[in-house]
């Protein structure tokens, strides 16, 4: 059925890496810094987002240690405020938002749709440089005293009252926005115009659908935060009054514009992770995904409806009660497509042939944590309940379940899944499973107590707290130390495996996507000849090239979408 190009002698699986691939095509620092190969740019991003992840992680560690005691002896109030602000800025703008799209998306989208590269390779490289420039401004702010406004930059605190290095950080985040925009632009155009023959929209891997949805948010949301931060920055530098009530401006308008982007930005983080999970589950259950069109459609639905819910961050700002009712109702609507995804993933497991490989452990961990994160979103969308839990640790726990439990689990799981494709070598399976379980346990121990803290009324962003909250804070810090271990471990063995890991071959799992039809690591041009797609997505039965034992399997009607 499939038209796999004949395996070249250099690509024998199991023994040695192919003789030529994108990593050894050219050598030298210039060949990396001036590369337009999407795979190399993905690796540049991998290194830079990891750097920011560890910076953000270091801040998080200090926060958790500080909160061991109610009075907080480790750092002063001012320093503590800077720590959580810098943690948020580094993690959200420089790790979570670019992580899956710019690393895995960049690497995989052309491979998955059978293209030689993204539509605009130079713009792709430009976006990485813009990211670096933005990152440099933010690092400059961090190293000249840091900023203490919270990652939300609420005015007039950020634009008038704060005495910290706000301006360079705002400029950095503003610049970084264009990096996201260019990535999104590249993805949208590539997915529209660069698909291989036979790769119809409904044969696309769900990872690609998720990135298409994410790109919509990049394109239509990011410019709004860019202009908002520009105005807030001008207000700070020139003493203007856009958002400063003392000069006639309205601080609530800043929040409207900020959340117009920053709420959909949550979906920038979670949608690509959902895409990763939608790849891992069918692969390791060896069966087509349940309800393909519903999962694809729900990605688009989340991206679109996600733009209608932003003011649920503002129920208690004094916004109109009518607006609050509208936004609460719409917030409940956006929960439905997420629920649909979870149900479909679970159903995919039914009558599968499930292996317990590491990526699958991450996928299951993702479902569990995302379930908690998503369901607690229902508590916060509830107007009456939000009066009590708004701006407490309940919120902190909720969004960490989504962003760390969801997005980061998806990212790390995806890294493991495609590691053989990226490096040509397998990670050590035993260590990887230990790391996955450690992460899951550490994560829950860190963040679950924070739900209780929140309902008890502990406000967020407190450098000291009443003693009755200490027990749960100690539990949380204990969990964080396990979590830290869970992140260091993969870092170590993944680097180790780049040199010493078992050679993976083209398709170690095996999986059905086009990216597995080419060498590991792939050629610079991705494919010897442009592939032609004649099979549906996630079809294991009609794929003799995968070498699976399909004779014994009960076969249903030939793959034909879903119904």
């Amino acid at each position: 059925m499939s038209t796999t190009p004949a395996a070249r002698p250099s690509a024998t699986p199991g023994n040695t890496l192919p003789r030529e691939h994108y990593l050894n095509a050219t050598y030298g620092i210039r060949s990396w810094l001036l590369t337009t190969d999407h795979k190399r740019i993905a690796l540049l991003y991998l290194v830079s987002v990891t750097f920011f992840f560890f910076i953000g992680g270091a801040f998080a560690t200090m926060i958790r240690i500080h909160l061991l005691t109610p009075n907080g002896y480790l750092v002063t109030a001012e320093t503590y405020n800077k720590l959580f602000t810098m943690h948020g800025v580094a993690m959200i703008f420089f790790f979570l938002i670019p992580s899956i799209p710019a690393v895995l998306g960049n690497f995989l989208i052309p491979l998955m749709i059978g293209a030689k590269d993204l539509a605009f390779p130079k713009i792709n490289l430009l976006s990485w440089y813009i990211y670096l420039v933005g990152g440099s401004f933010v690092l400059y702010s961090f190293s000249t005293g840091g900023l203490d406004t919270g990652w939300t930059f609420y005015t007039p605190l950020s634009s008038v009252y704060s005495n910290s290095a706000v301006t360079p950080a705002v400029i950095g985040v503003f610049i970084n926005g264009f990096s996201s925009i260019l990535t999104g632009l590249n993805f949208i155009v590539t997915i529209h115009t660069m698909r291989a023959p036979g790769m119809t929209w409904f044969r696309l891997p769900l990872f690609v659908w998720a990135h298409y949805a994410t790109s919509i948010i990049f394109i239509l949301g990011t410019p709004v935060i860019a202009i908002t931060l520009l105005l807030a920055g001008l207000e700070r530098m020139l003493h203007l009054g856009f958002f400063n009530p003392a000069l006639g401006g309205d601080p609530i308008l800043f929040q409207h514009l900020f959340w117009f982007y920053s709420h959909p930005a949550v979906y920038i983080m979670i949608l690509p992770a959902m895409g990763v999970i939608s790849e891992i589950i069918p692969t390791f259950a060896r069966k087509p995904i349940f309800g393909y069109t519903f999962i694809a459609g729900s990605s688009i639905a989340i991206a679109v409806i996600g733009f209608f819910v932003w003011a649920h961050h503002m129920f208690l700002t004094g916004e109109s009660a009518y607006a609050a009712l509208t936004f609460s109702l719409l917030s409940y609507l956006v929960a439905i497509p997420s629920a649909v995804k979870v149900f479909n993933w679970t159903s995919t497991l039914y009558k599968g042939s499930i292996s317990w490989d590491t990526p699958m452990l991450y996928a299951l961990g993702f479902i569990g944590l995302f379930l908690v994160g998503g369901l607690t979103g229902l508590f916060l969308a509830c107007l009456g309940l939000d009066i009590h839990i708004h701006d407490t640790y309940f919120v902190v726990a909720h969004f960490h379940y989504i962003m760390v439990g969801g997005a980061v689990m998806g990212y790390v799981g995806g890294l493991h899944f495609w590691w053989p494709k990226i490096t040509g070598r397998l990670y050590p399976e035993f260590l990887a499973r230990i790391a996955a379980v450690t992460l899951f346990i550490g994560f829950n121990l860190t963040f679950f107590p924070q739900f209780i803290l929140g309902y008890l009324g502990m406000p967020r962003r407190y450098h000291s707290y009443p003693p009755e909250f200490q027990v749960f804070n100690v539990m949380s810090t204990a969990g964080a130390s396990i979590l830290a271990l869970g992140y260091l471990l993969p870092m170590v063995y993944l680097i180790w495996s780049m040199r010493y890991g078992t050679v993976a071959g083209r398709n170690p799992w095996p999986a059905t996507g086009l990216e597995w039809q080419t060498d590991s690591p792939p050629l610079t041009e991705n494919f010897d000849v442009t592939p032609e797609v004649t099979w549906e997505a996630y079809d294991f039965i009609n794929r003799p090239d995968l070498g699976l034992d399909v004779q014994g399997a009960p076969s249903l009607a030939p793959a034909h979408g879903d119904d």
């Binding site: 009590h388 309902y455 962003r461």
Partner: protein, 326 residues
């Protein structure tokens, strides 16, 4: 506070039982789904574990009936959550008429409260049990948030306009209040205690700690003269501006034909940006005072205008709308 680990704070206001009921309801539904999905995942995980290296799953592509069920059922359940939350929220956003009004001003990093008698407190708030209490919240600088977990209430305190928050304390005692919106360096220290007293104790406390120095009425009357308000707002209605007698809480007819209630928010706006809502029959000649009065001065002026509520209203030249014309 109890010494054992509590899972929810004390229920000390009219809102607390309702909010807790919402919490229980949503938790129950979510727990059901979380347990069901997790159990299914774990069950499938073991039951369908791969038996042979080349094994494949059964190629099931989907089921329309199931998709419809899990679209519609969660949607309906979500709508009930929305409805429950909406009922509590609307109640919270609409203070009843008979409230005890207390002004609360937040500034970096302290809270000042002012009782109707003019008595002031710092980082303390005394209220009587069983009375509807309305806090009129203002900020001198950045956005703060007044939050009392034991009452299950909180509201942002936004510079530039008033927000209100109301509750009815149901249990005497001392309850922690916090600033819940990050406001700068000492955000975590910007809290205090709400003391809920029996009504008689509250009266005794009010009279016991009366201090004449800070009567807002006196300060307001003085400001009214200092800022030359009294040169136009003549009480007999013959000035260039309407008489303010009886205006407070009355209906005001505006130049564009609409009417508004002269509540604290309207009076505040009319002092700061008079041109926004001009009384019918008058020219927008009043200077805007935005940026020139502190929140406390505005409260003092409002207190003075409030004291004119019972003064005789002149036949012409009053700000309030003629009776019968709503």
């Amino acid at each position: 506070m109890q010494s054992q680990m509590p899972l929810y704070p004390e229920q000390a206001s009219n809102f607390a039982p309702n909010v807790d009921a919402l919490m229980v309801y949503i938790t129950a539904i979510c727990l059901f789904f979380a347990v069901a999905v997790t159990a299914a995942v774990i069950f499938f995980f073991f039951k369908y574990r791969r038996k042979t290296a080349g094994g494949v799953g059964v190629p099931i592509h989907g089921d329309m009936r199931l998709e419809v069920i899990w679209l519609v059922v969660p949607l309906l359940l979500a709508l009930t959550m929305f409805a429950g939350g909406a009922v509590v929220y609307v109640d919270f956003r609409r203070p009843p008429m008979d409230t005890l009004d207390i002004y609360v001003v937040g500034k970096q990093w302290m809270w000042k409260a002012q009782q109707p008698t003019g008595l002031r407190e710092i980082n303390e708030l005394h209220v009587p049990v069983g009375r509807n209490v309305k806090l009129i919240l203002a900020s001198e600088d950045v956005i703060h948030d007044f939050s009392v977990p034991d009452f299950r209430v909180k509201m942002d305190v936004v510079p530039g306009h008033y927000n209100t928050l109301w509750f009815r304390p149901t249990k005497p005692g001392k309850y922690h209040f916090y600033c819940s919106q990050y406001c700068g360096t000492n955000h975590a220290l910007m809290g205090g205690w709400v003391t809920v007293l029996e009504p008689t104790d509250y009266e005794a406390w009010l009279s016991g700690s009366s201090s004449a120095d800070a009567n807002p009425l006196v300060a307001g009357e003085k400001l009214f003269a200092d800022k030359a308000c009294n040169t136009c707002h003549l009480s007999d209605g013959k000035g260039r501006a309407p008489s303010l007698n009886g205006v407070y809480e009355g209906k005001v007819l505006l130049a564009d034909g609409s009417t508004v209630t002269a509540d604290d928010g309207y009076i505040r706006e009319s002092i700061l940006v008079p041109a926004a809502k001009v009384v019918a029959g008058y020219q927008p000649v009043m200077p805007a005072f935005q940026g020139q009065l502190t929140e406390e001065q505005i409260i003092a002026l409002t207190a003075y205008i409030k004291s004119l509520q019972s003064q005789p209203v002149p036949a012409t030249g009053a700000g309030i709308a003629p009776a019968g014309k709503k």
